[in-house]
């Protein structure tokens, strides 16, 4: 029942080649498990499928990164050729003249992409954690992202069927954890992490602080302990 790990390296040591990994964060440094990502880079597991909102906007262009700070995000795993497939909503630079490694690897045919609208991505991840294998959504109807998907009408409006996403591991950043595994986040840094911990076989969470049960007040717990497997302090 011990969830606290003493090092980032140890916490990611059993990630295997070909694993499906969810990586938290909206795109900036807030909510991104920078140390776990470095540990996974050093660990070297290859042919990973990464599920993430972006392919790394903070490291590419300072998106959501404090002035003068440097940033690490899942982009370094792609730089390091560890990723075989990306499932994301915002995989490339907003500027066509600024190319990230995802885009160059993609053009070389070295990496696969499943491009998913951001809300559909979040909902598919939630579904994976909530025992819902598939659902219908209006998002993407009539666009190329709905090609090959089942379309069905409800009350005269068209919807497409989307399926749940699950992962072997999630690398998530939260603000505080207690030793039971309860988590709290700061501000806008819940984003994908608070959903990904629910749908991963093993959720690994990097936090600023680890406290005793009760030191995060019950009403401030965003993620109940049952979703959390491993905790490492920054």
């Amino acid at each position: 029942m011990e969830k606290v790990f003493s090092s980032f390296d140890e916490a990611v040591s059993d990630i295997f080649d070909g694993a499906v990994i969810m990586v938290s964060g909206f795109g900036g440094t807030g909510g991104t498990a920078q140390n776990l990502i470095v540990a996974l880079r050093d660990h070297g597991a290859s042919n990973l499928t990464i599920i993430s909102n972006t392919a790394g906007l903070a490291s590419l262009m300072g998106f959501g990164t404090l002035p003068g700070h440097s940033a690490i995000d899942c982009g370094i795993l792609i730089d390091n050729d560890q990723v075989g497939k990306l499932i994301a909503s915002y995989p490339v630079s907003p500027s066509p003249s600024k190319i990230n490694s995802f885009e160059s690897h993609f053009r070389e045919g070295k990496i696969g992409l499943e491009l998913v609208p951001q809300g559909t991505l979040a909902e598919r991840i939630r579904a994976g954690g909530a025992g819902i294998p598939a659902f219908f959504t209006p998002t993407g109807v009539g666009t190329e992202l709905s090609e090959g998907k089942e379309v069905r009408e409800f009350d005269g409006r068209s919807y497409i069927m989307e399926t749940a996403l699950k992962s072997d591991f999630a690398l998530v950043k939260a603000h505080k954890a207690d030793t039971l595994g309860n988590l709290s986040y700061k501000g806008t840094s819940q984003n994908f992490g608070a959903v990904m911990v629910r749908s991963s076989g093993i959720s690994i969470v990097e936090v600023d602080e680890i406290v005793s049960p009760g030191q995060i007040e019950s009403h401030l717990i965003n993620t109940p302990a049952l979703f959390v497997d491993r905790i490492v302090k920054r």
Partner: protein, 220 residues
């Protein structure tokens, strides 16, 4: 040569569409400027898919916090009554019809209100982000953009040639020369930039514009 409205004035015109109590999600670029120009006495609650409702203005230098950003990655000031949520809830709000207005940029808008704003075909890959969810989910979609593209090509088109974000979702187009509403009967030209006549605007627009009965100059 006729003057085109600056970005700030486009944003100002859009801001007049926002009503007291509206929940509003602003996209990147010109849309993001709208919040500065809301007429006094109207309370607008801004939603961002980064996971916040009722955020404040951009943070001052030295006050930035990377745990408080909007969907463009800009740092925000906290506000009394601001609330936070995860991405599944953020998009539940959007898809569930809880956003009154979204203001989005566009690459192309068609006569029927089809929107293309996520991929340049020449690049072959693009970022869809939250655009499709917003286009489909918000009660009202307003496009704020320059009337023609960088190479002079029309952006108000008969049919979108770029990949669609969503069909028939746009209700109002505000550009640097015109305000156009998308109606059953077609595109109605409601307002013009000062000095611009119907035919000047039509020249830069692919589908036919129908002048409104009360066609007038944009008032800010």
């Amino acid at each position: 040569m006729l003057d085109r409205l600056p970005r700030e004035v486009i944003a100002m015109r859009v801001a007049r569409e926002l009503k007291d109590g509206d929940i509003v999600n602003l996209g990147l670029g010109i849309p993001s400027l709208c919040s500065q120009y809301v007429p006094e006495g109207r309370t607008i609650l801004y939603h961002s898919e980064s996971g916040v409702l009722n955020y404040g203005p951009m943070a001052e230098q030295g006050e930035e916090d990377d745990d408080l950003i909007n969907a463009s990655g800009q740092f925000l000031e906290p506000t009394p009554g601001m609330s936070f949520f995860h991405s599944a809830d953020a998009f539940g709000m959007i898809r569930g019809g809880h956003i009154d207005v979204t203001v989005l940029g566009a690459l192309q808008v068609s006569e029927k209100g089809d929107l293309s704003n996520w991929m340049l075909p020449s690049r072959g890959i693009g970022n869809v982000g939250g655009a499709m969810d917003l286009a489909v989910g918000a009660k009202r979609v307003i496009v704020a953009m320059e009337h023609k593209g960088r190479h002079g090509e029309p952006k108000v088109v008969s049919e979108c040639s770029f990949p669609l974000t969503s069909p028939t979702c746009v209700s109002l187009i505000v550009t640097d020369i015109a305000v156009i509403s998308v109606e059953q009967e077609g595109l109605i030209l409601r307002e013009t930039a000062p000095g611009w006549r119907l035919e000047d605007i039509q020249n830069e627009t692919e589908p036919e514009l129908i002048p409104a009965n009360d066609l007038k100059e944009i008032e800010i």
